[in-house]
Symmetry: C2
Subunit: 296 residues, 2 copies
């Protein structure tokens, strides 16, 4: 199957399970749950939950055993987008072709619903652990990995340094790499490993998936920077050039070097997968290929 068709099939599966594990919009207080559903059910690419499922299947586990954790990773991602878009952060007006959550629901409800979504994600990880009868260490590791990926040593740290350095004329390459690995790579790595963590995969397999997801996460972030500098706003569904006064891989290294590095990283990700001998890695491979093909 072609890359796009394969990922599209996976995406439709994810849409069904997301719907199943979201709070009902009729639950009190309704406005919070409407905001949560607005932030999640918006036609996202669903790369992270697809990665959760595909990585678990590559290790030989049935996808039904890791559905809740897959949804939890997407919920965390959507939470981070809502927060990043807030007026005090990137002050974004559009996301995926629609007004951002805080513009529809107000800043307070946007912020509260994002944190509620984050809490819902942790509940789902715990529930998933109980469903598959994971022991205490496995559940604790999954919770700790997710909390670390989001917190001050992960996405929050990345977003903070991104905002702090936005007004600088230049930043060093180490700081840029810090921002980029934290903002995208950290959650990619948890997406690739949370299934194995809960279901009891070996450390060697987890190390392979971590390497794959780390390289791919950085590649995705660099391609994001290229698209932001050169992409079509209609296709992207959001404003382009919004990072024009921010330091990105493109502003620091130039677009040619950015393309080259993203290709190298995608190749690195693909090579990592080869260590999973005999495993079905076509979806993970397609995600790597898609990283370079995508236009949005």
């Amino acid at each position: 199957m072609e890359t796009v068709a394969l990922l599209d099939k996976e995406r439709r599966h994810i849409e069904r399970i997301l719907e199943r594990h979201l709070p009902a919009s009729g639950d009190y207080p309704g406005r919070i749950h409407e905001a949560i559903r607005y932030s999640v059910l918006d036609g996202g690419k669903r790369l992270r939950p697809i990665m959760v499922i595909a990585a678990a299947e590559a290790l030989g586990y049935d996808r039904s055993r890791i559905e809740k954790a897959a949804c939890s990773i997407e919920f965390v991602h959507c939470c981070s987008l809502v927060l990043d878009d807030l007026p005090s952060m990137d002050n974004a007006l559009k996301r995926r072709g629609r007004p951002t959550t805080h513009r529809v629901f107000g800043v307070a409800t946007g912020l509260l619903s994002a944190d509620a979504l984050l809490m819902h994600a942790f509940k789902l990880v715990a529930d998933n652990g109980v469903d598959v009868e994971a022991d205490g260490v496995r559940i604790a590791t999954a919770v700790r990995d997710l909390a670390t990926a989001v917190g001050s040593y992960g996405m929050v740290g990345g977003q903070h340094v991104d905002l702090e350095t936005a007004s600088l004329e230049s930043i060093d390459k180490e700081t840029l790499e810090y921002i980029q690995t934290r903002k995208t790579g950290a959650l990619f790595v948890v997406a690739a490993t949370i299934g194995g963590t809960l279901l009891g995969a070996g450390t060697d397999d987890l190390a392979v998936l971590k390497k794959y997801a780390g390289a791919l996460g950085l590649a995705y972030q660099i391609v994001d920077d290229i698209l932001d500098a050169q992409g079509d706003p209609e296709t992207l569904g959001k404003d382009v050039g919004k990072d024009a006064n921010k330091q990105t891989y493109v502003t620091v290294h130039g677009v040619e070097k950015a393309r080259e590095t993203s290709r190298d990283l995608v190749r690195e990700a693909g090579e990592a997968l080869r260590a999973l001998t005999g495993a079905e890695t076509s979806v993970l491979g397609a995600m790597a290929a898609y990283c370079l093909e995508r236009t949005s």
Copy 2:
């Protein structure tokens, strides 16, 4: 020992363990960790972590086994205060006699550090579970209870309805009770039960602690409303009358009824404790007594 002296001794113990389990201010990115430490190390009353320790001891467990979870509950509480104080929420200028976190560090860093603190709390709960060799169900229950207390069916839900009804001329008693049980009671209940949950207490004991903490949480919230209406701003360390255009227990029921209800609830909390036969409940009892005595 007198109520105040007893709680003060416990508070000093909590200050020591909070310091031990906070991220170091030198950790990169430093500004986030400074903001976290500013939000936590501010002379709070530490009622929730004291409750974690006291409830675990009442069930016969050693306090050293539940220190991390105790800190995690205080971190969640501090996170909620930082978020509640934001301009888009209560827009508070002072908290515990000092400028609020977002006024010192900016809105973006305040918000990010609050979410990082929340993540740190979940990490600590998971770590505590591993330390005491809790099984998967116990760790998952602790994580789920905490996530539920914070999320859209807990504190976030309470804060949302509080903000949404602030501009109304009146609200019904059920809505007020919804707000008050969610904003304070939900985390009190987790504080009282998380030790027993992780350490394997029986459901009867947990039900008693839940009843105690639910009644006491509501009593605290009502006394807060009385102090806000009548207290001394110097003693409180924050602006009073800030709820003047909000619906509180005092505006809905009047101050006499508020005093009566808080006394009834504190008695109810004390009576619940009697079911823990033979247990050392002096600190839990002191917390109930303090609720009515306090002036800040």
